[in-house]
Symmetry: C2
Subunit: 120 residues, 2 copies
Amino acid sequence: MKYLIVVAHGSRRQASNEEVEVLADKVAKKLPTDFSAVKVAFLELASPSIEEAIDNCYEEGASEVLIVPYFLSAGTHVATDVPNEVEKTMAKWPDKKIEIAPHIGSLDPMVDLIISVCPS
Amino acid sequence: MKYLIVVAHGSRRQASNEEVEVLADKVAKKLPTDFSAVKVAFLELASPSIEEAIDNCYEEGASEVLIVPYFLSAGTHVATDVPNEVEKTMAKWPDKKIEIAPHIGSLDPMVDLIISVCPS
């Protein structure tokens, strides 16, 4: 049973956090069949934290978690902070699998996403 | 002659700004035929500014510019700062057209972009 976690930075502005939640709901509706659920986590300023979200997945029975860093650039948050949070949490779950995908700003479909704004 | 400008926040970390430039180069290669070029601009902390980029497009002969806010959430930068910069600049170009697209975090293909990390 695989779970996806969309990890965003988190904002003091609640509407920004809700934008991520709305997006995750849309992702959930198009998820590949080998994934059971999508959760959202925030690195800071909002909850649930990455640790809380990962714990929650495994408590619900996930065997594997895939983390998607919802960040545009490969700064310290992507290179260090997110992996550190994940590693710290996984010390509690030695028998479970986890993987961190590339941050979304580095994914090839980002090119097409930008081009999608051009009127056709 | 239409130009596209990808407007990012801008970072003190030069590698983050370069990530946007690399992305814009990839966008340029897949641009619809009615667009002539893609430029990058930064709201703060890096150059060119939005004003410099817009001026540059029109100086090169653009008749229309489409701005893509490369931001994940609809915070103050998207709602106020980018439009204000655009409006201020356009006072110099009364005969030219400009449009601001929705920020990328709100675009429907973002759902598929996130799902693209799931192994198929």
